[in-house]
Amino acid sequence: MNDPGTEPRIAHLAANDFPELAKRALDDSTLRGALHHVTDLFGDKRENAVAAMPEWEAMRERARRVKEETLSRLDHYLEEFVRNAEAAGVHVHFARDAAEACSAVEKLAQRFGAQTIAKSKSMTTEEIGLNHVLEDAGLEPVETDLGEWIIQLAGETPSHIIAPAIHKTRGQIADLFADELEVERTDDVQELCSIARRFLRKSFADADLGISGVNFAIAETGSFLVLENEGNARLSTSMPRRHLGVMGIEKLIPRFEDLEVFLRLLPRSGTGQHLTSYQSIFTGPKASPDDEGPDEVHVLILDNGRSALLGDWVTRQSLGCIRCGACLNVCPVYKQVGGHAYGSVYPGPIGAVITPQLAGVEKAKTLPFASSLCGACRDVCPVKIDIPRLLLHLRGKIVTGDGPPHVGRETRKGRFLERMTFRAWAWWMSGARRYRVAGWFARKLQPLGARPGLVQRVARKLSPPLGAWTAGRELRPAAPRSFRELWREQEGSR
């Protein structure tokens, strides 16, 4: 149940367009090459890192447990966090939804007289569409993570949780830099990184406010933590005079000790590193004016539909996600279509469950179906989120009219056809004789399949699902002789 009067929203949402966007992605061979590269590399690295960890399963179970403990008592732990953060001198702000969060940040920026804002990577600020709001207010938010900066320059959205610009080739990035930054074109990756370093150094030095995400917030100390590899989060939170961390209500863990297991799980699951290059644990602003670091530290805590998932353990577990991206890299659907097809800042299996739950199923009713339910996501999830179960739960909601009425009506016809098809299939396949006859027909009709498009045309006429299936694939040929025939021959020759 959402608080009335709030409007949970995910920025730039086009999650009902999955079938269309997926089709477009499948036709893009550059994208598909890049996707295979990233998912294979991260997948392999993760597997190697996990293989070297004998207690991996116990660690996952611990992490799941800690998250469930936190989420089922979230009011208690959130209160504790706020109390301790404020005691450490942190200014704590709350926002019910995306609009309220953006306007809170805008007001803070204006109060600080901030013009340039250095941003380090944060999925939560992507979710609320913060940059556009700040830009409309005449401010200059600069994404400083290399991948995020590239997509900001290109005016795009991230396609992978931890490698946001993976859909772009170095050639495309070379063109982008040459056009947008007026530098000499180079497609040398080292050079491109040097250009980024040079340009962004100025932003760090000019920025009056640094905005970071939050990987973990610790209730008992009021601390929060950011993990990264590039050093841009360190710069964004060290050079400007004010630092603002933006987090969802679910980022909490109860105890400082709990960090240890999450620090072992997150980098291994995300990039296969034993630890990312940098972790920064922030506990309040600097103690004396002579010290380094920001004068003021602020935290903005966002609901945006999250609290509505707390009531039931099936939905609550999706708030345990630590945004590692492991489920993307193993997903047979994500591997083919990539992040943009999901039409949400949260792509892949976890995106297919988070997006409809936060934004409302009517805004993302195709996503829970964008899965083969193979369970690979559940097997790699470092906090053991049962994603297939959540997908089924959401499918149920969409199909049974628990969702909005127009969803029910549209799917009723499909449901009827599907039920009839399966009933017929079950009848046909459960009699030995009928099975034999079906096989005989398949083999006899085989030569017709050689005529291009004929099978497809017939299949499309017969039943819509078959037509959809064969539109992108070849129909597998039936074996020239059946198992039963071969068996009889074998038996006969003995």
């Binding site: 149940m1 608080d3 709030t6 590269h37 990233v38 207690e55 447990r65 469930e68 403990e69 008592r73 009011d75 959130l78 702000h93 709350f94 926002a95 019910r96 809170a104 290399l146 993976i166 080739t169 170095r170 080292q190 491109l192 990184c193 980024a196 370093r197 150094r201 030095a205 100390t221 590899n229 590039e230 050093g231 841009n232 360190r234 209500i249 109860p254 400082f256 240890e260 297991v261 072992r264 034993h274 630890l275 290059s277 940098y278 972790q279 644990i281 922030f282 506990t283 309040g284 602003p285 600097k286 103690a287 380094e292 670091g293 609901d303 609290s307 509505a308 998932l309 707390l310 009531g311």
Partner: protein, 219 residues
């Protein structure tokens, strides 16, 4: 009019009403069980060996010395290798002593002069601890002014006393709490890196391109 804070808490409480968690809070003892922690790091030699091996595997460069005089010599060689002239220092006495012995370098306090910090060639800081498990440096912001000097220059040289290397992440976190949780606890493992363009690993995109650690066997 209710504030956003009240509304968020009210919504959390409303949705959690009647929820029975299957999980009771972990007791301290269980929470402190170090799942996945490597074993066999009780001896100093084993900790130094693992620290060096892991840090080297992520492109950190480790130099082991017997005393501060040797540390000065190694620092001189590092500065020469990179052609460094302008060197930022943290305010730690040991850093001042070791770098101060090098008369041919122009040194300054990196926490005081931001303009020079942005131009300098190299930064020298101490580190409060090392972590053997992960080859990590641990910096407490209240122990030393090294937040920017360890970050902004293209080369970072960290001085670490080998007696301060703790076995695992868990012990490092415990040390951070024992130190009263300063405003910033930084864990640093190797140079800055990115794979954001075609997954090609490039070091030094924002933070230091090179990380040298001078390990001083202090007793």
């Amino acid at each position: 009019m209710s504030t956003a804070r009240d509304a968020v808490f009210a919504s959390i409480r409303k949705n959690l009403a009647g929820v029975q968690s299957a999980e009771t809070p972990l007791d301290r003892g269980t929470a402190a069980t170090r799942l996945g922690a490597p074993q066999g790091l009780d001896e100093r030699a084993a900790r130094v060996e693992r620290f060096t091996k892991v840090l080297t595997s992520v492109d950190g460069r480790v130099h082991r010395v017997a005393n501060e005089a040797e540390a000065s010599e190694v620092l001189r060689a590092i500065a020469a290798e990179h052609g460094a002239r302008l060197v930022a220092l943290s305010d730690a006495p040991q850093v001042q002593r070791i770098a101060g012995a090098l008369a041919d370098l122009e040194t300054f306090d990196g926490s005081r002069d931001r303009a020079r910090l942005l131009e300098c060639d190299l930064g020298v800081t101490g580190a409060q601890h090392g972590i053997a498990e992960t080859g990590t440096l641990v910096l407490f912001s209240e122990s030393e002014r090294h937040r920017l000097t360890s970050l902004v220059p293209p080369i970072h040289v960290a001085l670490v006393r080998s007696s301060t290397i703790v076995p695992t992440l868990g012990e490092a976190l415990a040390e951070a709490r024992r130190a009263g949780l300063p405003p910033l606890v930084s864990f640093i493992t190797g140079p800055s890196r990115t794979g954001d363009i075609e997954l090609t690993i490039v070091v030094g995109v924002h933070g230091p391109k090179t990380l040298h650690v001078i390990l001083i066997d202090d007793d």
